[in-house]
């Protein structure tokens, strides 16, 4: 089927394009991209007043399958992705069982093939059972299609094992994504350590638990001449460590999540468990540092850390609730409101952080509208406002602190490999 997308503001950071262009899509690929294409197509989409960009790429989601289909499945998670404008997502290995062997990767691949509405990439575990003790076999998991390794949800505490992992990942040409947290320091903490934790009477998670581990992992990467990607950065010290490492030429990249540039720990004061995530929401100063890091390029990517949990898991005492919130359906709007509208990023810079850069970090040929590339495209109405209602959430879980927020920006259409995909 041939599509012609006309009159849109086409933003393609990979090719430094930001112009009114038409795109012809044929056989799943971008066939032609130029001014005023007057060609025949099976369907013509008028994108006047809209932004046309490479489909968003979320390099950090938890789709819970296999094992916790009560929280999310490949089907529901990718429906949420499509609704949020994501054509590619990379799912983390903390499933049950974890993705720590070619066998589980193969099983997941078969589920993806059957159920996925968007492209789902698989991240394999760094260590067996994500226990931090023994490395998995990166090479054979790669043969089954994993595109990166991470023990996300846990940090690899043992320095020697992390060093070996960095070397092995480099050998296998797999990006390594580090969840940086010293669990001894975070202890039984549930929110950011500081005044808010003090007044709420909750155990705090000190910022050191994040940035000390960021520092260690970057040092290990430098020592082993490996690349490293730091997941979900939340505090200003981590930002500064990464900034300095980049200046020194260390091959480090980093991501943050929309909640870390939108919310502060102040949101926790009602004990709403949908404000409980790890790393925790920090202070206004940290939010400012995260925004500045996005602006100056210290933080390369925006990833959601989409972490579905059921109502019955979250409707409990704050101490007992699991960490994490869903994010696929709100990420783009929050980025528009907090970053574009507040002049932190331009539109092309936003697309860079949400599509082009994550693709580059993962080493996949996505995040571009170059002729001949896969026709993964998102069409965005940048101004449409809507209320984010619980009953419209596509994700199987509804654990979002943004329910009933007025959001700006809405995904109008999504094409995955040249086919228009609907989340309904």
């Amino acid at each position: 089927m041939k599509y012609l997308i006309k009159n849109g503001r086409v933003i393609d950071p990979a090719n430094s394009a930001d112009d009114s262009l038409d795109i012809l899509i044929s056989e799943g690929k971008i066939d032609k991209i130029d001014k005023k294409l007057d060609l025949k197509a099976d369907k013509t989409i008028d994108a006047k007043g809209k932004i046309v960009a490479p489909g968003l790429v979320d390099m950090h989601v938890h789709l819970r399958e296999p094992g916790r289909e009560d929280k999310e499945t490949i089907a529901t998670g990718t429906a949420a992705a499509i609704k949020g404008g994501f054509t590619t997502v990379a799912c983390m290995a903390n499933t049950e069982p974890p993705i720590d062997s070619p066998k589980v990767a193969k099983l997941l691949k078969s589920i993806i093939k059957k159920d996925a509405l968007a492209e789902v990439l698989i991240v394999g575990a760094i260590t067996e059972n994500r226990a931090g003790k023994k490395l998995t076999d990166f090479k054979t998991m790669k043969e089954e299609g994993i595109i990166a390794v991470s023990d996300d949800g846990s940090s690899v505490d043992d320095e020697k094992i992390m060093r070996d992992a960095l070397k092995e990942a480099r050998k296998a040409s797999l990006p390594i994504i580090a969840h940086c947290e010293d669990s001894k320091l975070s202890g039984r903490g549930v929110i950011n350590q500081g005044f808010i934790a003090t007044k709420m009477g909750l155990r705090g998670i000190p910022r050191e638990s994040e940035y000390e581990r960021v520092k260690r992992d970057i040092e290990l990467a430098a020592k082993t001449s490996s690349g490293i990607h730091i997941a979900h950065i939340s505090c200003k010290e981590s930002v500064e460590i990464i900034r300095k490492a980049k200046q020194k030429g260390i091959k480090v990249t980093a991501e943050t999540a929309p909640h870390y540039f939108t919310l502060t720990e102040d949101c926790c004061i009602t004990y709403d468990t949908n404000t409980k995530m790890n790393p925790p929401l920090r202070t206004a100063e940290d939010v400012a540092a995260i925004k500045e890091a996005l602006r100056d390029g210290t933080i390369d990517a925006i990833a959601t850390d989409h972490a579905p949990h059921t109502d019955s898991e979250k409707d409990v005492e704050f101490d007992f609730a699991p960490f994490g919130i869903i994010g696929l359906e709100t990420a783009l709007s929050l980025a528009i409101m907090e970053l574009v509208d507040k002049k932190v990023l331009s539109w092309p810079e936003l697309i860079l952080k949400m599509s082009t850069n994550p693709s580059r970090i993962l080493g996949i040929d996505r995040g571009t509208l170059k002729e001949g590339s896969a026709a993964n495209i998102v069409i965005i109405d940048p101004d449409e406002k809507h209320i984010y209602k619980k009953d419209t959430i596509k994700s199987k879980s509804k654990n979002s602190p943004f329910i009933d927020w007025e959001l700006k920006g809405r995904v109008q259409a999504v094409l995955v490999n040249g086919n228009e995909i609907y989340s309904d």
Partner: protein, 324 residues
Amino acid sequence: MKNNSEAKIAWTKKDLLGLEYLSKEEIGLILYTAGSFKEVTTRQIKKVPALRGKTVVNLFYEPSTRTRTSFELAAKRLSADVINIATEASSVTKGETLIDTGKNIEALKIDIIVVRHNCSGAPNILARAVKSSVINAGDGWHEHPTQALLDMFTLKEKIGRIEGLNVSIIGDIAHSRVARSNIWGLTKLGANVTVCAPPLLVPEGIEKMGVRVTSDIDEALRDADAINVLRMQFERDEAMAFPSKIEYFKQYGITKERLAKCKKAKEIVVMHPGPINRGIEISSEIADGSNSVILEQVTNGIAVRMAVLYLVAHARHKASAGVH
């Protein structure tokens, strides 16, 4: 209430979750109301029909004898029916969740749930889930509003005012709900509050609650009109920030010698939320001495809890669902 001239406002809140969420006037109303009920507790017949036909459930997730007994007596003296439920909170057991338990209790057509819980914020979560009134009888390290109210009631009774008083709270501030509620209440009523604890038991940012912070006990005592001595819990599994009970007593224990050095040595009011650890945070001499109001606090606890039960039961609900 006969004379309502002192209390110019009406109570509108469904719940009492903490003193952080109350205005100065609301705290004043509780203390004023408690004054009327204190008179009731001194009568030959200590019962009024104010809550006849109402049911109060004491839902206790933590063992507590004194607070539960105090609430139970308070409810009974108001002629309410009282049910006590003692249970255990856990993140792992497959048992009923807090919200389910709350809704089930509510389905029994009760009016007020008095909840004690080891998790901070549990009463807030419960209050959002049920239409019944929720009274916080102590949650984690968060708040213990009725304890602070009875402390303030006792202070007012002893000294005649709260405004302008120098009150020092001494002990494990980090893990104390009594400290937090006292800080909110006392600062709202205009007292100058000092908290004094070993450095590792001073929680981060506590000064933003409007208190002076010191780890020097003599400094905390010097200008104090009153002190509130907290129970030291050496059995706590949080990394004990203090080497031993004997060492604690040496450095922070309230003794005759120490009190003698303060400016108001003679009239200083010594409070303790109980149960006291003699020879750890306070010497027997002081606990039993003329400055101590520890047993009066216990007596006043009933009047204060009667006031709180009465006010929430008769709240003029104007779209008030607690603090939120």
